[in-house]
Symmetry: D2
Subunit: 348 residues, 4 copies
Amino acid sequence: MKTIRVGIIGVSGYGGAETARLVLQHPSAVLTYVTSNTYLGQPLHCAVPGISRSPGLVCDAFEPESAASRCDLLFLAGEAGLAMKIAPALLDAGLKIIDLSADFRLSDPQQYAHWYKAEHSAPQLLAEAIYGLPELNRTRIRDSRLIANPGCYPTSAILALAPLRNAPFVDYGSIVIDSLSGVSGAGRSKFGPDTHFSEVNESVRPYGVGGTHRHTPEIEQALSRIWDRPVIVTFTPHLAPITRGILTTAYVTLTAEPPDLRTYFEEFYKDDSFVVLLDAGTFPTTKNVYATNNCHISLALDRRANRLIVVSAIDNLTKGMAGQAVQNMNIMYGLEEATGLPRSAVWP
Amino acid sequence: MKTIRVGIIGVSGYGGAETARLVLQHPSAVLTYVTSNTYLGQPLHCAVPGISRSPGLVCDAFEPESAASRCDLLFLAGEAGLAMKIAPALLDAGLKIIDLSADFRLSDPQQYAHWYKAEHSAPQLLAEAIYGLPELNRTRIRDSRLIANPGCYPTSAILALAPLRNAPFVDYGSIVIDSLSGVSGAGRSKFGPDTHFSEVNESVRPYGVGGTHRHTPEIEQALSRIWDRPVIVTFTPHLAPITRGILTTAYVTLTAEPPDLRTYFEEFYKDDSFVVLLDAGTFPTTKNVYATNNCHISLALDRRANRLIVVSAIDNLTKGMAGQAVQNMNIMYGLEEATGLPRSAVWP
Amino acid sequence: MKTIRVGIIGVSGYGGAETARLVLQHPSAVLTYVTSNTYLGQPLHCAVPGISRSPGLVCDAFEPESAASRCDLLFLAGEAGLAMKIAPALLDAGLKIIDLSADFRLSDPQQYAHWYKAEHSAPQLLAEAIYGLPELNRTRIRDSRLIANPGCYPTSAILALAPLRNAPFVDYGSIVIDSLSGVSGAGRSKFGPDTHFSEVNESVRPYGVGGTHRHTPEIEQALSRIWDRPVIVTFTPHLAPITRGILTTAYVTLTAEPPDLRTYFEEFYKDDSFVVLLDAGTFPTTKNVYATNNCHISLALDRRANRLIVVSAIDNLTKGMAGQAVQNMNIMYGLEEATGLPRSAVWP
Amino acid sequence: MKTIRVGIIGVSGYGGAETARLVLQHPSAVLTYVTSNTYLGQPLHCAVPGISRSPGLVCDAFEPESAASRCDLLFLAGEAGLAMKIAPALLDAGLKIIDLSADFRLSDPQQYAHWYKAEHSAPQLLAEAIYGLPELNRTRIRDSRLIANPGCYPTSAILALAPLRNAPFVDYGSIVIDSLSGVSGAGRSKFGPDTHFSEVNESVRPYGVGGTHRHTPEIEQALSRIWDRPVIVTFTPHLAPITRGILTTAYVTLTAEPPDLRTYFEEFYKDDSFVVLLDAGTFPTTKNVYATNNCHISLALDRRANRLIVVSAIDNLTKGMAGQAVQNMNIMYGLEEATGLPRSAVWP
């Protein structure tokens, strides 16, 4: 098939950098266009030091015409609010878009305004944008030209809980999601004490306590749809002194004896090669999915407390961001879904 | 007052080592006796390399007569099961004992047998042993000769939740305790992949999922007593790539509008100088209590989900073990409770 | 071309695991045989938890006949001393061997006996074994059936210094090599305090101080050959709290004004796509080569002290072990040298 | 004796914070005055989150009159260049000063201008300022009112090498100093990629390669004085992913058989309780001096290469900064030199 010409807007952020790593090793895509304000005019390897030899690429300023003439598909990895500003013209120019920001994730512009404290500038595209979680929306992704790539925490939380639909043994009001993320999730545009090595290393801390993190409504929207009922969850993110990885421990109170839940989950994910249900008694660790597009999941019952615990692990930059974006690209172009995506972790 | 002559059984483990650090800088105690099987006959600084210059101390084998003649009080920091074996004779010899192991924490020998898979060999002492959490049991500690020093996770969990007694707005069956610990909690006697640097670093993982961790009944016993009702909790520990520290995030579903909870907590801890309620909006981090005997606590309400979240942080080796042990010693000898204990964290 | 059938002896060690990761993503090789004593009879993903879905592979016991019938080439990643024991029969059976251990690195059996405290059991193969550093020995590797894959420290040190041949401005007796390694270099077979997370994290320490590390003669042998003169160096390894990576800082006293050294190095490595001379003023970091087969090198002159400083960085498990082994395989089979090898770092 | 009233200018930096930790636990000093521009008007525990309960202290703006009326001694821990601006008036007002910055370390104002790219604004004080390395200058510190507290790297390097005076077996032109520092050495005023957790963790890198680091002339000045000869060294600092600690490995080529060097060093440091020569065969690790004022030193001979290797370890914030400053204060006030200073490491 024809090679896909790919551009990355905001290549010097961690999401952009990881996308570049994956596109550079993709057999059916070629990186033709990268932009960065910070590294404008400099070779790609200055913006992304893990790339030793740039294939002639220099960081450009973003221009819709350049993008349209040099690319078939754009990954938007710039700051919040950029995508909704530039997407309309890019779509008009015939480009496909995978947006790694949060701009198109919430379907309701009022929800967007509430959680992101800003008016949405392209509400007409919200209905069209597909939430790019392939395990839930594969078919709709295939035919879309605008993908809202999921957030990292939502990916781990939704994959952990989605199979519990039509589950009469579940207290849907009881859901507590406790997650830990590596520091790369905080991005590369703001530097301060909160991400400074000396204050992060040898420390763990929560943030957004009390349901104030913006990924909360994203999780609720996806679970509400798949479960076909309104859902409110308590979600608490924590920062751990690791660079990559999200571990989610989700708690669900049971109202009745559940069926064999492993079978339940296996059936749900039978077509999803990146979701791996671990052997019974084995639990996810972020290291075992490091730099892969995998999501590891395990289940446990606390029979004393009548509670189900589901644990999931992903790499926040890969399955939680750039890997999932490439997975979406593969689906949009009819490629085998795992093309070019790492399955074996960089371990240890 | 008279200097307390102190011995440490099992000085080369992390609990023993931290106890040695604190006793060596204590103005009213002197370290007179240390034992270690691994470092038998070697100077203390070989067993505990953070101690540069041993004050003439050499690691002895444990002998009850030596202990009794050289010490007023013994910290038992040896392997599980040792304390219940040696305590009766040591008490008979007139020694005071602070046991850092789990041997005397559960009052019910059947509970002990169930969770620790072994018969208790000194059940006659269980009624006498005082659970050494000063914030709950200060008075009884004062008059005791046998202290069961609390576990690290229980210390963080109990201090986070204890103030919720007689709280008609609390669903007592809803409690989920999600904790993270540094690797020093795994001790220094077993080495393997689970604590090997290369497999722990850059990774986070849960363990004991489904309510199987032995600290579960210890948490439940303490909360049941203070709340005066039977309590079952879901407790999930996680391992984080830090050496020291425990962060606990506890979730409590609310059945009614709560009162001003901060006042509630402040009142409960008004006499406890090591428990610090952080400024509103500030949350605990393990770094901010590093190497101190403090417990930092914050509260948040998730109003959308009607849930209270309490977060606490301690240093697992200090307030979670050796510092609390020294705090107990201070109480037993009528010293000011904070004597010799660090209040300012080694930060950053 | 025909797919290469590959076996890995000792797959559950870190070198074996990294080899498995690379072989599984190699377009011209297939993993047909893996052995592990520790995980005997278990699926590959139990031995190497970063591999989520084993392609039907189970850890076998090593048997020469099985190896010969199922493989074209074997990577020997077992314990020290195994390779020299099993290599003769495997070669006789027609297999090609890439030995990741030190057994065949020193050409002189007396040197081997001196440094490794054991007699060499297959000295007849020492002359035939080719030191598998492609940048120095590419042609000889191509025609070999027995490759002694270089040590990790030697790879970083030799690549940093090799270009200084026939350099009349160099004091060849002045060479000091100061290196840092990640903990994965210590392997996965011995567990103890020295690699225990709690004692390694937040710590840096030297070892083998005074020229006692076994990689010293390996560095000297290679430099002596390329420089055509006997060389004695001072080499000091250090352990840093990272999982992967080696950083080498090499010091060379100058006896005269040197020519343009960058050109010197560029010329030397003009055919070596994995060796990257960084932009002037930019220095290697281990993160920028993480999980790649690259070696980054920079030069600096200390004009006040008349000294040249060369800094190199590799990933000890990739270019320092398994990646270099696969690079050697590629050369032996006439493949493009970089086939299947990662060039862009997992960054950050 | 009378309690020393102490002020800290720039308390929210890491040096200021560590000074505050040590002063708060000092039996003969009281913290009466702290300043911070960033946390102006806020309680001390906001500026230094490791301090849980501020003893009523609020961060002030710096005013000479306030300082003079509230303090006997000031620790100057503000930005570079501040000390030379404010010291003259403070000294005139009768205050004693211990300057933690580099302003008064180089005696020659031209050297200062060369290395720090700025004119010295108080050159008249350079002759009076005493370089506050107690092991070399104890007597002169006692009688001084202006101490130039040494840099962290220089402390570790000078203590490692100083004993080699009048050593006819040493090639004084051969000295190579290779050091690693924790990230806290970079301070808390500038935040960017170089100290961002995600780019520092799991990475090691050199900087200031080629003798360009400003601590080079400080090391040379001290060694030249103690050795009574001009000295040029090659010094290369590296950044390691630890928060605290400096490890220095120093290389000295020998021109003749040396005497028993251990005795040499022991004799030199016989009155210095913070310098610990480790048991033969044991080498320093930064963890073993964590949060102490100790300097651990070991020696090894590389007999094959005729080279002496000296390794030293300190905590860069304690012996390398605030601990040494308090040690200097103790000397200036005739206190026992170790008063209030930690000797046992926070370990592990």
